[in-house]
Assembly symmetry: C2
Homo-oligomer: 424 residues x 2
Amino acid sequence: MALIVQKYGGSSVADAASIKRVAKRVAEAKRAGHDVVVVVSAMGDTTDELIDLATQVTPMPPQREMDILLTAGERISMSLLAMAIHNLGIDAKSFTGQQAGVLTDEAYGKARIIDVTPSRIRQTIAQGSVAIVAGFQGVNPSTNDVTTLGRGGSDTTAVALAAALKADVCEIYTDVDGVFTADPRIVPNARKLERVTYDEMLDLAASGAKVLVLRCVEYARRYGVPIHVRSSFSTHTGTLVTDEPAPEGETVEQPIIAGVAHDRSEAKITVVGVPDVPGKAARIFEVVAGAGVNIDMIVQNVSAASTGLTDISFTLPASDGAAGTAALTEHQPDIGFASLQYDDTIGKLSLVGAGMKSHPGVSARFFAALSEAGINIEMISTSEIRISVVTRADSLDEAVRAVHTAFDLDSASDEAVVYGGTGR
Amino acid sequence: MALIVQKYGGSSVADAASIKRVAKRVAEAKRAGHDVVVVVSAMGDTTDELIDLATQVTPMPPQREMDILLTAGERISMSLLAMAIHNLGIDAKSFTGQQAGVLTDEAYGKARIIDVTPSRIRQTIAQGSVAIVAGFQGVNPSTNDVTTLGRGGSDTTAVALAAALKADVCEIYTDVDGVFTADPRIVPNARKLERVTYDEMLDLAASGAKVLVLRCVEYARRYGVPIHVRSSFSTHTGTLVTDEPAPEGETVEQPIIAGVAHDRSEAKITVVGVPDVPGKAARIFEVVAGAGVNIDMIVQNVSAASTGLTDISFTLPASDGAAGTAALTEHQPDIGFASLQYDDTIGKLSLVGAGMKSHPGVSARFFAALSEAGINIEMISTSEIRISVVTRADSLDEAVRAVHTAFDLDSASDEAVVYGGTGR
C-alpha cells in the first residue's frame, strides 16, 4: 500500500464525462489499497474564459482580484471531481489551496510556495477518504488572501504536497504517454523514456520540452519526490523522473543521451558596434536584466582590431523582445553602441544526457550530424550534461531529426508511439 | 456621510456590461462621501449552470461539495465587480463570506448565520476603500468549511452585514421599483409603497410577495436594520422597510392597508371521513409535520352527527404535495380516515396592514368586496394585521383587483408604475 498524489490537468477534466473518467481512475487506485490525494486544474478553458471576462471589465485588473477570480476555476473542478468519486461509493472531500495548507508569499499571480502544512489532508486520508486539492492556488498567511502560483502551478502544487506528505510517488497525468526522446510531431519514431534523472529533466524542460515545467522539477529534485509522467487516456506506464537507480535487471545499461529538445519561443538581439572596452558587456546585460528580461545564450564576436568595436548577440524569450530592445535603446547614449538587430526567426536545439559527462566524443558526433545535414549553427552553449545550438527556425525540425538519428534514439519502427497533444 | 450596504442580485450583474453599470452606481455613492459595502450574488444563470454540471456528474451530490461548487459563482462576480470599481479610480477589495466573517452553523445548503465578525470589512472601509462581499455564503467555524445560506441568502448576507456594521441603511437593488400595493402584472394601477413596517413586510412576504424573503425581513426586524428596496435600473426612491415613523410632513396619514398579496404556490389536501374523536386532528398534523412539510391554513368541517365523521382540509406548498399525501397514506390505518383529496388549483389572497388592528370594519369591507365580485371563498385565516382567503386559482386575479379597489389602493391613473420583472 502506497501513498499516491495524482495530478490531472485541465484537458483531463474538461467536461462532466472527463471528470467521471478521472473519478474512475482515482477509484481504481483507491480500491487497489492505496491512499490517494488528487490535485486538479480548472476545467478545460475555464481559466481563459475568466481572463476574458476580466478584460471585458477593465484593461488593468488588480492582481489580488485576478487571483480571486481565477481560483474559482479549481473550486468548480475539485468539487465536481469529489462528487463524481463519491458517486462511485468512495468518500471524497475537496479542499482549496488554503484548506490544504499551501502557504505562499504575497506575489499575486506568481506566488512561490513557502510551506505546506497539510493537516486536513492527512486527516482525510487517515479516515480512508480521498482528498481532492485545488491546484495552482495557495494562501498568503500574513493577509489571508488567496494567491495563484502562475504557469505550471498545479504540477508544483502536486509535487509540493507529495513532498509534505512524503508520498511514494507523484503521478502527473497529461495528454501524452510520458517524456520522449524528442517531440514525436517532429520525430515520428521518438521513443518514450522509461526513466530520466532530475538533472536531465531540468535541462530538457529548460530547453523547450513542455511536459513538465522547470519549477516543478526543481521542487521534486530538492525534496527527492519521484514523478511519474503518464497519460490520463491510457494505462501505460509513463516516464519516471527520479535519481534512484533502476531495479536490478530492469535496465541493461544507462543510456548516454536522454533526448533532444527544441524551442521556437526565443529571439535574438544583436548589439552592433559596441566599444570593446571592459564593462560594456556587463552594462548591456545589466540594462536588459533591469527590464525584467532573462537572457539565455550569449555570443561575443572577436573584436576587429582596426575599429576597436565588437558585436554582442544574446537570446531571450521572444515575448520579452519589445521590453529588451526598448531598455537597450533607452541606454544607447551611455553604452555607446551603433545599432540593434532583432531576429525572431531562430530555433534552439538541445541534446541532453547525464551520460555525456563520462562519454567523450558526444560533441564531435553532435556537430558532425548537424554538419552532414547542412545545418548552419549561429550560437553554441554547453553545460555538463547539455549542448545547445541556435539555428534558423526553418531548419530546426531537420536538425532535430538528424541529431536524434545520430545518437541512435529512433525506436524500432513497429513500436507504437502515442502522442496525443501539445505536450503541455 | 453614511455607511451604506448595497446588495445587487444576479440579474444586476449578469454580464460584463451590467457589472460596469453597477460599478458606476457604487462609485457614485462613494463619491457622494458615503462608506460603501457591496454584497453581490452570482452572475445571472451561473448558479443554475453549476447545479446542472453537478447533476451531470452524479444524481446525489454530497451537500458539502455542492456548497463549495456553488460558492464559486459569487467568487467570480465579486472579483469582477471589484475590478470594475477599481477601473473607475476607486479602490475596491473583494471578500468571501469567510473573509467577511460570516459565521454559520454546519447545515450545508441552508446554513443559518450564527455571528458576523467583519473586522476586515471595517478595516477596508476605514482605509477609504469599497468592500465587496460574496453573498449567499459563509463558513462553519468548527470545520472551516464553506456553507451556503439557501434561498434569498444574499439578501440575508446584506442585512446581517448591515446589522454587524451598524450601517445606516441596507439597500436591496432588484429589478422592480420597490414594494407595491399589489403585483402590478395583476393590478396595473398598483401603487409603490413609500414605507412599510417590518410586520407588514413579514406578512406580505409570507403571503406571496416575492420582493424580499421572509428570513431577511425577520433578521432586519430583530436588529432594526432599515431596508431600502429599490431598482438597479433607475434612480427612483424605492420602498423603505422600517418601524421608524416617517419624518414630520412627509406623510399626512398612516395608511390602514399596506397591500394585497397573492400566492399560487399552495395546494389543498382534504382528509375525508375522519373519526370525530379527540386527538385525530393532532395526529394528522403530526404525520404531515413528520414528513418535513409546513402546513399553512386549516379548516375542519362541522361533524355530521349521524356519522360521527368529519373532513379536515389544510393547505401546504404544492412542492410538498407528494410528500404530504404519501405520509398520510402510509398512516391511513392508524388515523382511520376514508380517503384523501388533493387540489392544486387554489389561490390565496391576503390583505395586510398594521392599521387593521385599530380600524374596525376592515373585514366587513373585505368580504363585501369579494362577494360583490362573485368570488367563492373556500378557507379563511386571520392574524392581527392580515386576512387571508383561499379561492379557485382562476378567480384569484379578479379577487385581488376587487380588494385593491375596495380599499382605495389604486393609484391616480396618470402615475407611472415601473415594474420590470418577476418581483423575485
